[in-house]
Symmetry: C2
Subunit: 389 residues, 2 copies
């Protein structure tokens, strides 16, 4: 493995009853809170009322930023930062899934600078400070709660950027599978694919001597493959929700990628794809990942694909070439995702070949070094996109 630094001081509070610690955790940092949430599902499932009750009880004053988009916009970030500044907010609480948390990561740095936050997101300048924040996670998949990274869109510019800052590390994450039981089917599938895609990004790396990390990734993938169809047949099952929630938090907590950097090329392509077409990240990954795999698979890297096929998908290797085994693994992954109802082709989102050159262009423009397991050129990206049509 490569020398590495692992540092993840986010306090993870996982499971039943952990929400009861919310006010105590917030109070360690402040008593003027910006509550950030999305489309209002937390009002329907009772979580909003519960949180407000807790804040009142603990004499915490709160302000609200509602309506964070599935692909959060920089305009929304600016609104949040403005509230923080005007109301002298000292803590931000994200309640929801990855979009709400990603938006919050940008709000906390935007609230502490006079610079326009897009300059930070687009890496023209660096964040120098940030408000403390925490999250209550009610949608599994993105793993945003234990990670530094955030993805924000400038919709006017059709620009979507992944960025990181040491100030975007949460103080705590309360992962609440109880509130995940009301997440609808389609969103549940997207979350599952997203979590798996994070593990797969880690898995495709060029490091040597990482047997434990490899097996950790395989463990998470095998478990999701086993539990996902059960959950999708029984959306209100707590135990299945718990397992998927745990898998998705671990997937992006840096515990699976100690000693190497994964590929992440497919993520870069999806960011450009969803900057042009406002599609869900999990949906984009379900379409792109098998095509990325088929495109980059060659004799030089076949052993990693073969390992995945055998250790995760239990492909019988008898009498088959390595390439055949690898391809069977990829096909099996794609079949699983399709059988869960994930999108298969770009056309499932009414995307045609018209925008593909633009998407390929944007991919390489925002990420000139696209892919670590396999470095992709603009032509490579376009070929992957075309095969995904």
């Amino acid at each position: 493995m490569n020398p590495f630094m692992y540092y993840n001081p986010t306090k993870l509070l996982f499971g039943k009853g952990q929400l009861d610690n919310l006010a105590r955790e917030i109070s360690r940092f402040g008593n003027r809170v910006l509550l950030v949430y999305g489309g209002g599902s937390i009002k329907r499932n009772g979580l909003y009322d519960k949180i407000i009750h807790m804040l009142k009880h603990a004499n915490i004053e709160w302000f609200e930023l509602a309506g964070v988009e599935p692909n959060p916009r920089v305009t929304t970030v600016r609104k949040g930062a403005e509230i923080c500044k005007k109301e002298k907010v000292d803590f931000v609480l994200a309640v929801g899934g990855g979009s709400v948390i990603d938006c919050t990561k940008a709000i906390v740095v935007a609230a502490k600078t006079d610079e326009d936050v897009w300059n930070i997101i687009s890496r023209q300048t660096r964040a120098t400070d940030g408000l403390p924040y925490g999250s209550v996670v009610t949608i599994a998949g993105t793993g945003a709660e234990m990670s530094l990274s955030s993805v924000i869109s400038d919709w006017e510019k059709q620009d979507k950027r992944a960025w990181v800052s040491s100030f975007s590390r949460a103080k705590f994450a309360i992962v609440a599978p109880t509130y995940m039981t009301s997440v609808p089917y389609k969103q549940t599938v997207n979350g599952i694919v997203d979590a798996m895609s994070h593990v797969l990004e880690h898995y495709f790396n060029l490091a040597t001597n990482v047997p434990i990390q490899d097996q950790f990734c395989e463990s998470v993938l095998r478990t999701i493959i086993e539990v996902a169809p059960k959950l999708l047949n029984d959306l209100e099952n707590y135990e299945y929700r718990e397992t998927i929630a745990y898998a998705s938090t671990i997937a992006l907590s840096d515990q699976l990628n100690m000693g190497f950097i994964g590929d992440w090329g497919t993520h870069h392509i999806d960011h450009a794809l969803s900057a042009v077409h406002d599609i869900p990240h999990g949906g984009g990954m379900a379409i792109l990942f098998p095509h990325w795999m088929r495109y980059v698979l060659d004799v030089e890297n076949v052993l990693k694909f073969k390992q995945l096929a055998i250790n995760v998908f239990q492909i019988d290797s008898n009498g088959k070439t390595d390439i055949e085994i690898a391809n069977e693994g990829i096909d099996t992954l794609a079949q699983h995702w399709a059988s869960w109802g994930a999108p298969i082709k770009l056309r499932d989102y009414q995307i045609t070949d018209k925008t593909l050159p633009l998407i390929a262009e944007k991919t390489i423009e925002t990420q000139p070094k696209c892919g670590n397991f396999k470095r992709l050129t603009k032509e490579d990206v376009l070929a992957i996109l075309k095969s995904s049509l």
Copy 2:
């Protein structure tokens, strides 16, 4: 799984070249340092000189506590705390393995109280403050670098206690496999057994719905089983040292036991055993663990033992009862350890049946609730000890 809190803010710096960050990491906390080390192997392998050079270069003043025992004594802790108080030390640096780090964990809380530190270690009172500390890990096995717990002996009282405090969390841990290549054979074996025993303690828990955690434990065990004999045949091999070091750090970092508490009964017995007989912890665990397993195995818990046998030791289950499979797994574990030269019986340390009642007495006295997977009485402990003769 059970609801859980995971919080591990120790910064892990792992691998080649990470030692170069030492002065920078220390300087974040102070410039008057107590350097704690053991029997002097760091002087033989050049590490001491390298560290001193770094401290000088960074204008860090240092004081020394050398000669920390393999089972660190409270008398040594007191000495270290005295130096800290007298010299107004603001940071403690442990260089070595688990004993040195455990001793340091006690020094940092002793340095910040007028109370005798044994009162904290024996849980009569709680630590209220602690100096910051970090470690350079040169012996793999204990995983003390990423854990809160510490084990200290009062040799006069033949008393040995495991204790924890939130102030015994390291600021950083530099894990340096480069300096592990000179660890002698026997000490290497003890470290490997120690790391495996931590994973096994986690593995034997009563939680349900922990498929990922189970597989993580199995991944670490399988990897150690595969790599340990290679390392023992090639002690200077960096890659094997790296894998064992990584496994041992992860084993006690709380990443394998999210959502449950493992058994730990065997650890409690070994603490009493080595309070009476000054034997190495890894050696004690190698003797005791297979006997604990055989003693507690029954029809009610056989499935976990069977799972271990099949998933870790690849026992062929064809035509065998669950108990037979379970026992084959235990036998295979014991055979591996014996084949590496780990001690098999208490007699290997010249321990006879004379002291066993005292050891059983002490086990239950210091740990009335002994074992979580299987609660042990004094009679149980005595029976396990007798079978280990």
